[in-house]
């Protein structure tokens, strides 16, 4: 018995040592740093060093104390929120559209198209960001194409105007950008004005939104394709015999059956979009006017460029909390579904057992009904 324990632990030892050393322990080390004022000099764990324990000061500075730190953090949360608000629905719809387009059985060459749509998902985010930097130059590919159809494209990477403000300006008589209403610019909460909170993603942020939607849709497309293949042909045929149109079939048959996959794609999207970093690092570094600043990038910048490691770590843990929230929502839902399925199975089994017992007890020839 002892020998068996030893063998087992020897097998998992490399994995356990590496995961504990470089993943579990560091999280607690960072938790400590987040309650200190460590500036990168010396060791934060050295009792006699310059590093001081500051309690929850770093967290307070980010959440409650008016000042530049909170302004920046709230700005990054706002930016990331609008980013999530656009990316998650867009990538979900695009992924479903691509999956439905690729899944049409009467078309040839579907493998080629599936490959083309999935390919960006496997490539480096840094490399793809470089391509998009080129595409969205002021006189670049996108603006040239827009120009050909009579639209003057914006200066994508330097335009800090919020998309909601632009829409407001164009669709209503209110001059949201040239002459913003004073009630919006003079009232506010958590360090930002109402005007800032309602800006929507900046034009610069929309390039990152488009990039990420375009890249990740391929991954989610595969999930939808897998789910679509599980929907049996019978269901579709039945719908067809009932005389439904294509749209009705999609709306009332296919989408309801895709619900679990939809939920998975949306929660995975929520978890992933709060982590956006590489694209921001390569494409904008938070510019223009901090409108592409995200918590992940701000945490990096505060720590490694401004040497405020305590505050940077505190931001990382607040971000962690947001992401863990969505992870738990997902886990809870999936577990719940499993539990329901188990209950159903158990119920069905009981019924079957009862039916069998009834059949055994009853005289032959008494139908027990279909299961």
């Amino acid at each position: 018995m002892k020998a068996r324990n030893l063998t087992g632990w020897l097998f998992v030892a490399p994995a356990v040592i590496i995961l504990v050393t470089f993943l579990v322990a560091p999280i607690f080390m960072a938790l400590w740093v987040s309650v200190t004022n460590w500036n990168g000099l010396g060791s934060p764990f050295d009792a006699g060093g310059q590093t001081e324990f500051v309690g929850l000061e770093n967290y307070q500075a980010l959440l409650f104390e008016p000042g530049l730190n909170r302004d920046l953090f709230m700005t990054s949360l706002r930016n990331n929120f609008f980013y999530v608000l656009f990316v998650v629905p867009l990538q979900t719809v695009l992924a479903l559209t691509l999956a439905l387009a690729v899944n049409q059985r009467f078309l040839k060459g579907r493998g080629f198209f599936r490959t083309a749509f999935y390919f960006p998902s496997v490539t480096s985010a840094v490399a793809i960001s470089v391509v998009f930097l080129f595409l969205f130059q002021n006189r670049g590919v996108v603006n040239t194409i827009l120009g050909n159809i009579g639209i003057q494209g914006p200066a994508w990477f330097s335009d800090a105007r919020g998309v909601f403000h632009i829409w407001f300006e164009n669709l209503t008589p209110v001059n949201m950008i040239s002459d913003p209403p004073t009630w919006a610019t003079q009232t506010g909460f958590l360090g930002l004005t109402v005007y800032d909170w309602t800006a929507g993603p900046s034009v610069a942020m929309t390039t990152i939104i488009m990039l990420v939607t375009w890249t990740t849709a391929g991954t989610f497309m595969l999930m939808f394709i897998a789910a679509l293949q599980d929907i049996s042909g019978e269901v579709e045929e039945a719908a067809m015999v009932d005389g439904t149109t294509g749209w009705q079939k999609l709306r009332y048959v296919v989408i309801p059956m895709l619900k679990p996959t939809l939920f998975l794609v949306i929660t995975l999207g929520l978890i992933g979009t709060w982590q956006v970093f590489d694209q921001v690092y390569v494409m904008s570094q938070g510019a223009p006017a901090n409108t592409t600043l995200t918590p992940a990038f701000l945490s990096y910048r505060e720590s490694f460029l401004n040497f405020a490691y305590g505050r940077g770590a505190a931001m990382a843990f607040l971000l962690f909390a947001i992401i863990i929230f969505f992870t738990l929502v997902q886990r809870w839902f999936l577990r719940d579904k499993d539990a329901i399925a188990e209950k159903k199975a158990a119920k069905a089994q009981r019924k079957r057992a009862q039916a069998a017992a009834a059949a055994a007890g009853a005289t032959a020839g008494t139908p027990t009904g279909s299961v």
């Binding site: 009467f106 840094v126 670049g140």
Partner: protein, 299 residues
């Protein structure tokens, strides 16, 4: 004439698809292809532009960004990547070294741990598995500062060790291996055991050869993951001679090497960063696609 045809679908829709008039089926087919081709253009055009631009002059790239034909055609950007003016060969070398080490390490350590979690009975196994599930949900971006701290404390920050060792094991890979071992019958191993082979011997010469599909999946995922890795290297090293392709490319793009707007150069570098993964992708396409959707369902 045309009115009668226009009215046809309302009745045709009532019956089965196969009975639809020929023109409607053709229309449906063309619409299907139209949609696919539209999206294929959106997905392929950026890569085509990237390839074309890498053979353009700086001036041509700026003046004719949408053109797929370089005019004049030049290899200048590609030559510059390798003529010694940029540390590009160093980046490429580092990426290769790190990716190989990480992939070999992951395949070996993940399968060891996956096998133990699936087959070996030892005290603490259930706890380890639950811990693994918890670890899998720790988002990568919040590990930047923690990893930096531990690398510094261990005195290996800014070395190859710092880049490689933390990536040698990944929870998701262990999970994939465990799932696979769970799915294969135990009888063959038992036969080997009866023949007197030790646990490691059984694992190495009996079980691993059967696990080739899962090993390939883990190899692909490790290769792709470590080749594309950016954030970990960003905090693990500082010296330019330790930069990988992704780090170098990010630096090149931000103009720190005096390369600001030289798009043929940066796009060629980005293309070279993409090519190894692309080759891998096209060779193992079916497995990648299957692995991705399986991982998704179970993940």
């Amino acid at each position: 004439m045309s009115t009668t045809i226009d009215k046809a679908p309302s009745t045709a829709a009532q019956i089965q698809d196969a009975n639809q008039p020929r023109w409607k089926r053709m229309g449906k087919r063309w619409a299907g292809y139209g949609i696919l081709i539209f999206f294929a253009l959106i997905y392929l055009y950026p890569f085509m532009i990237q390839i074309a631009t890498s053979f353009k002059t700086d001036a041509d790239a700026v003046a004719n960004p949408t053109s797929l034909v370089p005019d004049p055609f030049t290899m200048r950007a590609w030559e510059r990547l390798f003529d010694g003016t940029l540390p590009f060969p160093t980046w490429l070398g580092n990426s290769i070294v790190v990716t190989l080490c990480v992939t070999v390490g992951r395949v070996f350590f993940n399968s060891l741990a996956g096998y133990a979690l699936s087959r070996l009975k030892f005290r603490g196994r259930e706890f380890l598995f639950l811990a693994l599930l918890a670890i899998m949900s720790v988002p990568g971006v919040v590990l930047l500062i923690p990893r930096f701290l531990v690398l510094r404390e261990l005195g290996i920050w800014n070395t190859y060790y710092a880049m490689i060792i933390p990536l040698l094991v990944d929870a998701a890979g262990i999970f994939i291996m465990k799932q696979f071992f769970d799915s294969i019958p135990i009888s063959i191993e038992e036969a080997a055991r009866i023949d007197g082979a030790g646990t490691f011997r059984t694992f190495w010469s009996v079980v691993l050869p059967m696990a080739v599909p899962a090993l390939v999946t883990v190899t692909i995922l490790s290769f792709q993951g470590s080749w594309n890795e950016f954030t970990h290297f960003l905090i693990a090293v500082q010296s330019p001679e330790l930069f990988t392709l992704t780090l170098g490319l990010a630096q090149l793009t931000s103009g720190q090497l005096g390369s600001g707007q030289q798009f043929p150069l940066t796009l060629a570098a980005a293309l070279l960063t993409t090519i190894p993964v692309a080759i891998m992708f096209f060779i193992f396409q079916k497995r990648i696609v299957r692995g991705a959707s399986e991982g998704a369902v179970k993940g």
